[in-house]
Subunit: 114 residues, 2 copies
Amino acid sequence: MYRDEHLQIDMSGQVEFDTRRLTLTRKEFELLAMLARNAGEIVPRDILLSTVWGYCEGTRTRTLDVHVRRLRRKLGGLGDTYIQTVFGVGYRFERYRAPRPLLTYSMPAFAATA
Amino acid sequence: MYRDEHLQIDMSGQVEFDTRRLTLTRKEFELLAMLARNAGEIVPRDILLSTVWGYCEGTRTRTLDVHVRRLRRKLGGLGDTYIQTVFGVGYRFERYRAPRPLLTYSMPAFAATA
DNA sequence: GCGAAGTTGTAAAGATTTTGTAAAAGCAGG
DNA sequence: CCTGCTTTTACAAAATCTTTACAACTTCGC
């Protein structure tokens, strides 16, 4: 369903992060799957709440946010990178892109002994 | 059908664990076989119940769990290792992997007599 | 065919995990 | 600076799993 160099999400419910299998609860997985399915797109909170929780439009709850918190924590240092907040709208799953390598010159060997 | 350094499962119904022949009942074997056939994958309870028991989707029963319990007990100390619970979803058969040996120096023979 | 032994399903009690949410604090935006 | 949204944490409720015991059913041996 989704794959990049850090994260792999299967339809079956298995999620692998940096070659470690993540233990996600059912709701956590459903949320992650929903976001990953719409990777790169902003998914409004109402859509997330109705799809994952079956809540009516306009329901005011912090349930979603707490689950986002729990997911981010399980995604370690990249939690905030993968799941981004769009203020007042919802969340967006951002595909991981390795930073473009900077152009560098090779340091002289003696300088490297520091 | 499946083999690792501890467990061996034959199509014929024979199961060997640490060189001892396990005596599994018919249902126990069918369950183990189904799990082992999908080793590494999460198998939802509904799939297990319909495949092994012929139950309808959505049937609420603890039959499966009790059989898992019986199986785990027959697998001795590795029962929990081989058959893992995926909360709210089902079970997963995990292949046994020996822990990667740590790099060590060889102990002198005299020290090993302790 | 019958009794014994084994297998299987399930109830029920207890344990464990998941989930929802309150509340306080932090932060974004106007 | 204020309002409203997000984050965080803790806790209780809900859901699920585990365990054990027992009854019913099936199989086996005589």
